[in-house]
């Protein structure tokens, strides 16, 4: 068969969000791939320059529909550094708890979105069912289920209510039980392994060169986690090691990326337990947060998808002079053609799905 270009997107079951992947196929084998982004560009950075510092948390919530809390947190950390504000210790611990809850919810959303890519729709409902429990948990302090607006510059909006620990513990025990079930359903399934093992391989050095970060990098065996490497909030006081995975022959394949996210869910539950146990008392908001700021600040945090970086310049007014967001998925998707070539058409959803695409933050 002659070679032909196929558009996978912007409306296609494979694309979780609005983007377009053009692939060139020879029969069923992919010979070339071009990702096209920009369908969902909302110009968040430019809009943010016209709004006051504290108003921008509504925009950062909308950067990623699956992981709103982490992006708002990244923005608040940067703004705090710009203004010279430090959140009280209790607020830092609460932030750690909600960030990890959000990370689990995001990874469960990924798990739910990944299995229909392989042809198993049941996995979608399982993932969403479990995510629901964590959305309920996040609803308790913040009042929101998708967009929280909970982390504020200088602390968090509200304190955790009494009884939160018990509820979180019950939910986490349920999730641990269900993750064991999923290991039987997915890891021990021959067909699941056939679709995942050795698909979409890239090596650790390639991943570093291409700028891939987060779970996608750690799944290649690189123990690089910004929660430790450039630590923030309560993470320095918690005891954990970055979880890593590698494919059978080294590097990262779809299965190691799947295992990586499941391992990170276990790790996040461990972190939540530690943070809830060590939770100090006190206020949850800094005494005074200035409205105006000058200078420049730059912080990076470990988002659910990789390294989220924000850069703010203040000119002394109450609005940022310049705001730049570095999205982890933008670089990862740009590198995708390298590890799509040579695989089959059916592998495209598996490979792109295993990267955990989120177009909201990619297109900004």
């Amino acid at each position: 068969m002659a070679e032909m270009w196929i558009h996978m997107g912007p409306q296609h079951p494979m694309t979780h969000g609005l983007w377009n992947l053009r692939i060139k196929v020879n029969g069923e084998t992919i010979t070339d791939a071009v990702p096209e982004l920009g369908y969902l560009h909302r110009s968040v950075e430019k809009i943010g320059e016209r709004r006051k510092y504290f108003m921008n948390t509504t925009l950062t919530d909308r950067l990623c529909y699956a992981s709103a809390m982490t992006w708002t947190h990244c923005y608040c950390l940067t703004a705090e550094e710009l203004m010279g504000v430090v959140a009280p210790p209790r607020a830092q611990y609460i932030r750690t708890v909600v960030l990890e809850l959000q990370r689990i919810a995001s990874h469960l959303m990924w798990l739910g979105a990944y299995l229909p890519d392989l042809g198993l729709i049941t996995g979608f409902l399982y993932g969403m069912r479990d995510r629901e429990m964590f959305l309920n948990l996040l609803e308790i302090p913040s009042g929101g289920r998708l967009l929280y607006n909970y982390v504020k510059i200088g602390g968090v909006k509200r304190d955790l209510p009494p009884g939160f620990e018990a509820k979180a513990e019950r939910v986490m025990q349920t999730l641990e039980r269900r993750l064991k079930e999923y290991e039987n359903l997915y890891d021990n399934s021959k067909i699941f392994r056939m679709r995942n093992d050795g698909v979409g391989i890239y090596s650790a050095s390639d991943a570093i060169n291409w700028g891939i970060t987060g779970p996608n990098l750690r799944s290649a065996g690189v123990p690089f986690d910004l929660r430790q490497a450039d630590s923030y909030d309560a993470y320095p006081e918690l005891d954990f090691e970055p979880a890593t995975n590698t494919a059978a022959g080294g590097g990262s394949d779809c299965f190691s990326r799947y295992r990586q996210r499941v391992d990170e869910m276990h790790q996040s539950m461990n972190l939540i337990r530690q943070a809830l146990a060590k939770m100090p008392g006190g206020k949850v908001m800094a005494d005074s947060v200035p409205l105006r700021a000058s200078g420049e600040a730059f912080r990076r945090t470990e988002d659910s998808r990789g390294e989220a970086l924000m850069y703010l310049i203040g000119d002394g007014s109450d609005r940022p002079y310049r705001w730049k967001i570095r999205s982890p998925m933008f670089t990862t998707v740009s590198a995708a053609p390298h590890f799509l070539k040579g695989y089959k058409v059916a592998d495209v959803p598996a490979i792109m799905g295993s990267l955990d695409m989120c177009i909201g933050e990619t297109d900004k």
């Binding site: 229909p116 049941t122 069912r129 056939m194 959803p349």
Partner: protein, 390 residues
């Protein structure tokens, strides 16, 4: 009266034709040159060919009714079982919920009472709703599609699937026809459908449908040979292609016990033949949107869906006849036993569909040629040994 065909042939010969032909002959003499076709029709109906066609028309219609009744039941089972597997309830629409829907449509605010809500029912009406929806949709032909092939493709798929129904018996008492070559003809009819899939895939002028059609043809190469070889073992032991003889041979012990390998190979190949998960590559919705049915809509799509379920149903029937002793069983009538076994296999198909992912094109070729073909050959060798020794 050995089969439905014989019965309807007799019905046409004894009742239908003698009652209708006088009317037609009467018409022939009303206005001679213009009403002559009525007389020709009457003479054709009295001939052997005409009787044959009339008898087959009745048979196919009855088979279609039986097939569609079972499709409704299988679709309902599929939805409910999928719902239970996914930790939800499945369709709940029932007759009693129509009242509330009507009040909703009339503009009254629905009364949300968690305990006594009448929306909850067994959900069989969902199929009716789907059917109405399929009927009401417009039949659209895509702009640059090949109109003729686009129309013919689904017809090949649907008609070859319905043809299957008239060739597989439910029991010695209920059988549409008795073809001399029996199940071999059924398998030949089974293999017609990929032609329809390929035709539609090509005619739609869409890259997804094209790849879907090509996958259907590639898949055919993988499963067809092991499928027939696994059946060959049963044919050898029974010494016949006729379903009656095959079931009669299994009176003592079902074939699934001595020919377990053949049973496994047959079930896997039959899953590929009827294009269900994990082998539904021609309509893989993750990468090919809806595969070869992407451009089909309306009643065409509805009938294609129904035909797929009919194929699954017939596949389970053949598996029952070949390996599970057909209609033999104690106490209950044979037809009940037959349907019980068929539905057991169908429930297995459904559970499998909602618990495993889909495999790739190269993997199904690998599976077919490197695993299933040797296994079916081993099964055939064992069957030959069995026949020769005993």
């Amino acid at each position: 009266m050995t089969s439905l065909y014989d019965w309807s042939y007799w019905f046409c010969e004894a009742w239908l034709v003698p009652l209708m032909t006088p009317l037609l002959y009467f018409q022939e003499h009303i206005m001679p040159p213009f009403s002559n076709p009525a007389g020709d029709l009457a003479r054709w109906m009295e001939s052997a060919a005409g009787l044959n066609v009339l008898a087959w028309t009745i048979v196919v219609n009855v088979a279609l009714m039986i097939g569609f009744t079972n499709v409704i039941i299988v679709v309902y089972l599929e939805r409910k079982i999928a719902g239970r597997i996914m930790d939800r309830r499945g369709p709940m629409l029932s007759l009693s919920s129509l009242k509330e829907i009507a009040s909703d449509l009339a503009g009254y605010a629905p009364e949300y009472n968690w305990k006594t809500t009448t929306y909850a029912g067994i959900g069989i009406l969902q199929n009716v709703a789907d059917g109405i929806k399929f009927f009401c949709k417009e039949l659209i032909v895509p702009d640059k599609a090949d109109r003729l092939l686009y129309t013919i493709g689904p017809v090949i798929f649907i008609s070859s699937s319905i043809l299957l129904l008239v060739m597989v018996p439910f029991s010695p008492r209920i059988a549409a026809s008795s073809a001399p070559l029996g199940l071999l003809v059924v398998m030949a009819a089974f293999s017609i459908a990929p032609i329809g899939v390929l035709t539609t895939g090509w005619a739609c002028n869409n890259k997804y449908t094209l790849i879907g059609g090509m996958r259907s043809a590639a898949q055919l190469m993988a499963y067809e040979i092991p499928l027939l070889l696994s059946m060959a073992g049963v044919f050898l032991v029974a010494g016949s292609y006729n379903p009656m003889d095959i079931v009669a041979q299994q009176q003592g012990m079902w074939n699934v016990v001595p020919q377990f390998l053949g049973f496994i190979v047959f079930i896997v190949c039959m899953l590929a033949e009827v294009e269900r998960v994990p082998f539904d590559l021609p309509e893989a919705e993750a990468e090919l949107v809806e595969g070869w049915t992407t451009e089909i809509g309306g009643l065409r799509l509805g009938l294609v869906f129904a035909a797929e379920y009919i194929r699954g149903f017939v596949g389970a029937m053949i598996a029952t006849i070949l390996f599970l002793g057909g209609w033999s069983g104690p106490f209950l009538p044979g037809e009940i036993w037959f349907l019980l076994k068929v539905y057991a296999i169908l429930v297995f198909f459904i559970i499998l569909r909602w618990t495993v992912p889909r495999i790739r094109t190269d993997q199904i070729l690998l599976l077919g040629w490197k695993r299933l073909l040797p296994l079916s050959l081993i099964n055939l060798a064992l069957a030959i040994l069995y026949v020769e020794v005993f």
